[in-house]
């Protein structure tokens, strides 16, 4: 279904999921295209970013951001075109990074808009991936909390996703060994051959924990946590003294309705943090590091331009396909940064 200039398709939250979201938890509705008031702009969505954190917004549980209300439009970052401007700071036709959500059109007073990074000019969807929030998450989490040093071992899961892929490549730039973890042989091969990871392990292998131990003969100095679950369990005994654990996501846990069965491994984690003097720190990129986005955009733009940081996108056409694509994302079915192409231009 192509975008129409007269209809605002919206994907709303139909019901709060129990466990994995189902297609019926979403609803596509047609709304009128809104008219900007004085000081506002009308945004038309070109690309919609789908990211694991959105699962959290579908739940009512306390989190760092308010949940999406049932019946409301799903939230999400977008690359959008200024269709109409009643705000002198924006010109019609300009592309911006917005937070329009899962819909064709949205209004903004401009305060939540960012200019498209220059390095994304010829490839705007990168502003949602390596040059956007996921890349920024990788950059700050690894460099500010992880602080990898030459010769150290950095482990990251979802290694072909936009965060993991960027973490591994920055680790290599800093002279660390980068060990990736991904689901399936294709992703692992891509991580090593295209992204330059030293090694990438398939977490589905029955002897994954043993493979990880063999892959890290000098232990793990930085574990960049974005998945949780079994990968973390395998990492825990391998962590070195003074290891760092930046924690930006737990995608393997987002669909869980209950805590897993015992034994209770929390005391083991605490004892490990204590005896090995480890720092573990959660962060939310814009809230913790929003003030440093300029530094990120400049450095990452250069790295991408120089070919030092590569990326892979998984582009799905059509806003109406966002629910299925998102459900697949939580199951690890995407291969690269998942982006919905809502409109061609």
């Amino acid at each position: 279904m192509p975008q129409s200039p007269t209809v605002n398709r919206q994907i709303t939250l139909a019901s709060r999921p129990t466990g994995a979201p189902k297609p019926a938890d979403f609803r596509i509705v047609d709304a009128p295209v809104p008219e900007p008031a004085d000081g506002q702009v009308l945004l038309r969505t070109l690309f919609l970013s789908l990211d694991p954190y959105m699962r959290g917004r579908m739940s009512a549980a306390r989190s760092y951001a308010a949940p999406v209300e049932v019946g409301a439009v799903m939230v999400g970052g977008t690359v959008s075109r200024i269709e109409k401007s009643r705000n002198a700071a924006f010109r019609e036709g300009d592309l911006v990074v917005a937070y329009s959500g899962w819909q064709d059109f949205a209004l903004s007073d401009g305060s939540d808009l960012q200019p498209l990074p220059r390095a994304a000019a010829s490839h705007p969807s990168l502003a949602l991936g390596v040059l956007g929030m996921p890349g920024f998450t990788a950059y700050m989490g690894l460099l500010d909390i992880g602080q990898p040093k030459a010769g150290e071992t950095v482990v990251v899961a979802a290694a072909t996703g936009p965060v993991g892929a960027t973490v591994g490549q920055i680790a290599r730039i800093k002279g660390s060994r980068a060990i990736g973890v991904a689901g399936g042989a294709d992703k692992c091969r891509f991580a090593v051959q295209e992204l330059g990871f030293d090694l990438c392990l398939d977490h589905r292998a029955p002897d994954f924990a043993r493979q990880l131990e063999q892959a890290c003969p000098n232990g793990i100095d930085v574990y960049f946590e974005n998945v949780g679950g079994a990968v973390f369990d395998a990492v825990l005994p391998l962590l070195n003294t003074k290891a760092r654990i930046p924690l930006c996501g737990l995608v393997s846990q987002y669909n869980a309705e209950h805590l897993p069965p015992g034994p209770n491994r929390l005391p083991l984690l605490a004892a490990t943090l204590l005896s090995r003097r480890i720092r573990m720190e959660g962060f939310i990129i814009m809230q913790d590091y929003g003030h440093r986005i300029g530094e990120f955009t400049a450095q990452m733009g250069q790295w991408v331009g120089d070919g030092k940081v590569k990326y892979r996108e998984d582009v799905v056409d059509g806003l109406e396909n966002a629910p299925d694509a998102f459900i697949g994302l939580l199951a690890g079915q995407n291969f690269g940064k998942l982006v919905i192409r809502v409109a061609d231009k």
Copy 2:
């Protein structure tokens, strides 16, 4: 049994404990008093510090320090007198802070000796408590990792122990609310009336978690972790965004032989650290902060001298009573810093 100038009583590790140590896990043996070689001093123990970390040394499990071998003398900090000196840097009769372990006499080449802090001159055992390793642990963990601010809420358990008591009082000096947790009404009363905690809760109360929630209407900004277990479980849901968890000990867990039954709360901890952007960091005082001991000694000496930081000691007479006292320490039976008075002077 008084100290003899001709016998070196030693308490050795007779066997590695299963669960809580038993008296039979220790053995008292008589050894000859050693003779210092050139460059060495002979130390005579006046006070022996008993601290929870010693439980870790009794186990063979990987930790930050080597275990005590079965048959070897138990390790531990001491205030000792130089009995004989064949090292020009030390004079006979001087008191030093040493690491002689559970025995009357020990040799040293001086490299592991610290001068007695000036503020402890008239009360040497304080060099093992508020002016020593536990006070230093409280000081650095709270100020460097915890970073309490005026108006914030700081929670610490073992509130009448040498670490907890000092944490609470430094928190008050920094303008924070200090909420203590201790075992029993006497300790709680002491924490409030003598140490100046705003409130102190008995963790043995059946509704402890509810009491803690009521005691922290604005949530918890710093949880100084030295016990683990049920106290941590009650703290976790109350942690604020950007809370800090310095982690120096887990005394409630040291006797555990197995992980506790489920559910597995590790994913809950990780999700909390993530969504509230919390930093949790283990540290081992001398390894992480040994280079800052001068700053600590000067500041804490002043606070103790001015009466701004108070302390309570639990002094047990006689080296032979160290095993029972240590077993009681792990069960929370001490009331204040547990010190063995090995000799009067």
